[in-house]
């Protein structure tokens, strides 16, 4: 079934929030979105849907369905695949105690114990000692949220169709979409004792097979190593640029080497961002106002800070001139990356998240926690100046709408996730809540010149729950069995709860929504997609879906 094609410019209508329902229809609950063709989303109901034919005629590619289980084999965690096992295994048995004392684990554990003792002592002596705990609340909430679904996050390789998927059990699985091959083999993953409480993963921006994984105590920098390829041609031959082999194959097995980048005292890593030239890696913590800029080659960290409680997100501008730090408070900090001067921008409506830069690095936008608005800001002057202003606000209010099959859905509302296509032409939004309709992803076309304009394209619908799998229980996760009985009575939002408010003030959610299909947990676009954009969605049931958006 083809969604109604939106006609004309829609920006003003969306801004006024009046006639959105007339512009794009909603997919039925038994449909699934296949792709976007020429500005319209194609949804299919069955295998003989005519949309499939249109898709094939347009040269569309069906991406393999990837699904990760909730629990991976425990054996994978014991038989570590890393080649950087620095723990006591490699040490001589003559010095077991010394090796234990000198191991990082020991110091981390000791430090954590001492910290806990100090915190408890402070709590006893001083009522204000829970400030640190408030800082921790964002991090613990983030972890709880990520722990709900099998997949925590994912990252596209910048030059290959290769995905890095972070499982909830802290293992990283790499999947070559073209070769349909896993690395390491399924049920195994890239594991290491230091790789704990993973919250983010990012590939090197220049195609090098280097993956940075943010864990509790630092960054695990995984480098994939490959054996020599059989390039047998002579010097006069041109390079074989057109037939790039699969990243992983039987003939040339890959290996992985891990470097662990750590700054003592800088823990609870929540976000990572590579500089566009691949030289620096920025690292933010949920409990520390500073950010660390790593010179990755020399492994030299530099700390920069301005007052804020913690960092939720870091985003480097495409030209590398600015770095935005979204704080865990109502604040954005924008850094100029030559002089590293920073400017603090208050966001009065809530905690900023999902910061996205326009491709020309002259504008950026972000959503705010508890808000149904997207703010667009413009850089008024070139670096090293840090003058910027709010130029546009896009509201996406919640509304009740009816599908063609007559199902009533609530769409829009508080924005949970937002992802912007690297070409700057498509914007995908996921919404808060677990009601029927929260599973839909809102897709907009974007024009940035002279001023940003947003044109709705429709809603993307993902998979349904497998009837043989456990159904979602409050608070939403179908796998959570340990929910206390009193908590069953009133469900609460665990996705983005307000960590500054007390738990009593958290908003209840309607119980009627518990049967909603799997919710989108993470959104991402492939950094380089030739025919438009490739939207990738991590669903709550562990499924990873790719929706190609063919335009341009």
């Amino acid at each position: 079934m083809r969604a109604a094609s939106p006609g004309g410019t829609f920006a003003n209508d969306v801004q006024s929030g009046k006639t959105e329902s007339t512009k794009c229809s909603l997919p039925d609950p038994d449909e699934v979105t296949l792709c976007e063709l020429n500005g319209a989303l194609e949804n299919i109901k069955s295998n003989d849907d005519p949309a499939l034919e249109r898709f094939a005629k347009a040269g569309g590619i069906l991406y393999p369905s990837i699904k990760l289980p909730y629990e991976v084999d425990d054996a994978s965690r014991t038989s570590s695949h890393s080649y950087a096992n620095w723990s006591s295994k490699t040490r001589s048995s003559v010095y077991p105690i010394i090796s234990h004392i000198t191991s990082l684990d020991f110091w981390i554990a000791t430090q954590a114990h001492l910290k806990a003792i100090a915190e408890n002592a402070c709590r006893l002596m001083n009522g204000k000692a829970n400030i640190q705990l408030q800082h921790m609340e964002y991090y613990t909430t983030l972890l709880q949220d990520m722990q709900r679904a099998p997949v925590r996050t994912l990252a596209w390789h910048h030059s290959r169709q290769v995905l890095a998927i972070v499982h909830r059990q802290d293992s990283v699985h790499i999947y070559d979409v073209v070769a349909e091959r896993w690395f390491p083999r399924p049920t195994l993953g890239l594991n290491h004792p230091y790789q704990r409480d993973v919250t983010c993963a990012v590939w090197n921006p220049h195609g090098a097979p280097v993956l940075a994984v943010g864990s509790k105590y630092g960054v695990c920098l995984w480098r994939l190593l490959f054996e020599q390829t059989g390039f047998q041609q002579g010097g006069d031959a041109n390079f074989d640029r057109d037939t790039v082999p699969a990243l992983f194959d039987e003939v040339h097995p890959g290996y992985a080497w891990m470097n662990f980048l750590r700054v003592p005292g800088f823990e609870s890593i929540t976000t990572l961002a590579w500089s566009p030239d691949g030289q620096f890696l920025a690292m933010g913590s949920g409990t520390n106002s500073a950010i660390i800029i790593w010179d990755v080659a020399a492994e030299v960290p530099t700390s920069i800070s301005r007052p804020c409680k913690g960092t939720a997100e870091l985003k480097w501008s495409p030209d590398g001139m600015f770095l935005i730090q979204a704080c865990t408070t109502h604040r954005l900090i924008i850094w100029e990356t030559r002089t590293w001067e920073g400017k603090s921008l208050p966001t009065h409506h809530g905690r900023p998240h999902s910061v996205c830069w326009m491709p020309d690095s002259k504008m950026f936008m972000f959503a705010m926690e508890g808000s149904d608005q997207i703010s667009v800001w413009q850089m008024n002057s070139p670096p090293p100046h840090l003058e910027c202003k709010d130029v546009y606000t896009l509201p996406v209010p919640m509304r009740i709408s009816r599908t063609s099959a007559g199902t009533m859905l609530k769409v829009g509302g508080v924005i949970k996730r937002m992802s912007f296509d690297p070409t700057g032409e498509r914007l995908a939004l996921a919404f808060e809540g677990d009601h029927l309709g929260a599973e839909l992803i809102y897709l907009l076309a974007v024009r940035t010149r002279p001023l940003p304009k947003f044109q709705p394209l429709g809603y993307i619908r993902g998979p349904k729950w497998n009837p043989r799998e456990p159904q979602p229980q409050p608070p939403r996760s179908p796998y959570r069995q340990e929910v206390d009985a009193p908590e069953r009575g009133h469900t609460r939002i665990t996705t983005t709860s307000n960590w500054e408010a007390s738990p009593q003030n958290q908003r209840p959610v309607e119980r009627s929504g518990n049967n909603a299909p799997p919710l989108p947990m993470a959104l991402g676009f492939h950094p380089q997609f030739g025919r438009g954009a490739l939207l990738t969605v991590v669903w709550e049931n562990g499924k990873i879906g790719c929706v190609p958006l063919y335009f341009g």
Partner: protein, 650 residues
């Protein structure tokens, strides 16, 4: 000016252009030194009672604090001045432990120890003066109620000894840890931000070093304290005698020395005040050190013409001005706009700046590649020789000594054939028959007022002739034959080498001597990458140009040179990989490395880091030039390597 020796030759236009700013920096450091010293002395002079009334305000204007701040700043200023005179940007490495030991114990260490000691005495005296009420600051303690010989105040001996110990230990620590070498930060923030970030570091270092030094000193005093006390007492008596004789006064005073236990325990109060004194000293020295580094590692803010900056790139390695030139150029190329575009501009009346930068960058990379290849070749030859030694007895036993394979003459010839002309030039003296006849005669070298860079690493400073002697010789030589190296200089060099060689042979007779004169892998690696920072900058500058060229190079200069640039980088990468995979000195031969490998730690920091830089740079080239790379033709070994980049498998 004598300062210019460390910055670079004064005739260089870039050095000339930056000199005023560098003098400004020096003046800023000296001012900052005074402020730091005064602030810390004021802080240390405060007590809790000062905050009850306005004591803290009164002490702000206390003349003693100002006076001692001024005197201490003068002494520390001498240290700053000396550091500027010997500004070190390049790592100072000797290839063996023996040479490192000789290099360690040189005049700089002595001078550093002297000036640190002088400042420590002044600062320690100030502290004790301020704490008169808490510490008995009189040197002689007279018995109460009767006249008699006094006793030397042991607490003061302990504290004074500790001040001197801290000065000597800190001077040694600085020398050992190469703290004089400037470390350019990867991220250049504003000066006040960097100073703000560094001050807590200097305080924490002061605390940790102070704790270690006090623990060591206290342990030493526990055992040797009595001897120290007796020596101090005897010295004071002698000084008293001498002063009395000279001043024609009455008889000298006598001192009572209690013959107690040889284990000397010091009270907690003295320990505490020693600790605080040590912390004061270390905090001042560390803060000044960090401020110096912050000022002298900042990029040049002044607008310098591009052509002037380019003249600084080709200064001799290890010159401070060369580092600044690379840093300035890197900064100019990193920002978009007019500054970067100007490098791609070609004018008829002047040579292309683009070509000059490409040539300078590639020459640095090529030099490194060549050094890596030479080292690998030397190591290969050495191993072959060792293998031959092992095989020889077997061959003799089996009666194949006459075969051509084991003929020493042929073997030598084979080695000579394998070794490149450059290596022969490096190894053999001019005129030696071992040198290839194809090697052109050595061009006359321009006289320099210093030793050639390569010779520095051959023997330590102790065996070098004094600078004045060299200058005199060179002045004399320049009048006679201004276009050649004076003979006497070469003679002296040979003498130094001979002495060193004989000394090493003599030491190597013992087992520990062999350990001392053995060439170690880590030292060899450090030596190869002594200019690591410039090597990284050269690669980054080169890549910045290549990446910007598809949109900004309208004359296609970079496009024409891209094959050469890629081959240059790939050659270096292959050299680095070969070295990491097959190090010239096997880890088995070095117990230290063997232990480290047991922990599976990464040992070779610099080559690994440079490899990362190289890989990232080549990937940036691939990203920027991907569409046109299919038409490039490289040598097979480089093409094979580069194909891996195109497959994103490197």
């Amino acid at each position: 000016m004598s300062l210019l020796h460390s910055w670079g030759p004064s005739s260089n236009p870039f050095v000339e252009a930056i000199t005023p700013e560098l003098y400004n920096r020096l003046a800023s450091v000296l001012w900052a030194t005074f402020i730091v010293v005064y602030t810390l002395l004021y802080t240390w002079s405060l007590s809790l009672g000062d905050f009850v009334g306005f004591g803290w305000l009164r002490k702000l204007f206390q003349p003693t604090t100002w006076f001692f701040s001024f005197v201490a700043s003068l002494l520390i200023g001498v240290l700053v001045w000396r550091r500027v005179q010997n500004l070190q940007v390049r790592r100072r490495v000797q290839r063996t432990r023996f040479l490192a030991l000789l290099d360690f114990l040189n005049g700089q260490l002595l001078a550093s120890a002297l000036w640190h000691s002088a400042s420590s005495v002044i600062l320690g005296y100030f502290y004790l003066r301020q704490k008169q009420s808490r510490v008995k600051s009189d040197w002689f303690l007279y018995p109460e109620g009767k006249y008699g010989a006094p006793e030397l105040n042991e607490n003061l001996v302990f504290i004074a000894g500790y001040c001197l110990f801290v000065a000597l230990a800190y001077a040694g620590y600085r020398r050992y840890a190469e703290r004089d070498q400037l470390a350019f930060p990867p991220i250049q923030r504003g000066l006040h931000w960097r100073i703000r970030a560094r001050l807590p570091v200097s305080l924490s270092t002061a605390v940790s070093l102070g704790t270690i030094f006090l623990a060591v000193y206290n342990s030493l005093y526990l055992i040797c304290g009595f001897s120290l006390y007796k020596i101090a007492a005897a010295s004071i008596v002698r000084i008293g005698n001498f002063a009395a004789t000279f001043g024609n006064k009455s008889a000298p005073i006598g001192l009572i020395i209690h013959e107690g236990s040889w284990l000397r325990w010091i009270g907690l109060r003295s320990l505490l005040h020693s600790y605080l004194t040590g912390m004061l000293l270390l905090a001042i020295w560390e803060a000044v050190d960090h401020i110096f580094e912050v000022f002298f590692t900042a990029p040049i803010r002044k607008d310098i013409p591009r052509s002037t900056v380019l003249t600084g790139l080709n200064l001799p390695t290890g010159q401070y001005a060369q580092y600044l030139a690379w840093l300035t150029l890197k900064g100019q190329l990193e920002c978009r706009g007019q500054s970067r575009q100007s490098i791609f501009t070609v004018r008829n009346d002047e040579p292309s700046p683009l070509k000059a930068v490409l040539a300078s960058s590639m020459s640095i990379v090529d030099r490194l590649s060549e050094s890596l290849e030479v080292e690998q070749k030397k190591s290969k030859d050495r191993r072959e020789q060792e293998d031959a030694k092992r095989i020889k007895p077997i061959a003799a036993a089996s009666g194949i000594t006459g075969s051509s394979v084991f003929s020493p003459q042929k073997r030598k010839q084979a080695i000579l054939d394998v070794v490149s002309d450059k290596v022969k030039e490096f190894v053999f003296q001019p005129g030696s028959p071992a040198r290839s006849p194809k090697v052109p005669p050595e061009p006359p070298k321009v006289l320099q007022d210093r030793w050639p860079q390569e010779q520095h690493r051959e023997y330590p400073a102790l065996l070098r002739p004094p600078r004045q002697h060299l200058d005199a010789q060179q002045t004399a030589g320049s009048t006679a034959q201004s276009q050649s190296i004076p003979v006497s200089l070469k003679d002296r060099r040979a003498t130094g080498q001979e002495v060193l060689a004989n000394l090493q042979q003599w030491i190597a007779r013992w087992k520990w001597g062999k350990w001392l004169v053995a060439e170690t892998l880590d030292r060899q690696t450090k030596d190869l990458f002594a200019d690591f920072q410039v090597q990284v900058w050269a690669i980054q500058v080169l890549i910045s140009i290549v990446v910007a060229s598809p949109t900004e190079d309208r004359f296609g200069i970079v496009s024409d040179e891209l094959d050469t640039i890629l081959e240059c980088l790939l050659r270096c990468q292959l050299g680095l990989e070969t070295r990491l995979a097959d190090p010239p000195v096997k880890p088995d031969e070095d117990p230290w490395i063997r232990n480290q490998l047991g922990d599976n730690q990464l040992l070779f920091r610099e080559p690994y880091a440079l490899l990362q830089v190289m890989q990232n740079s080549l990937y940036r080239v691939v990203t920027a030039w991907y569409e046109t790379l299919g038409q490039r033709k490289l040598q097979p070994r480089y093409a094979r390597k580069f194909q891996r980049y195109l497959d994103f498998r490197e």
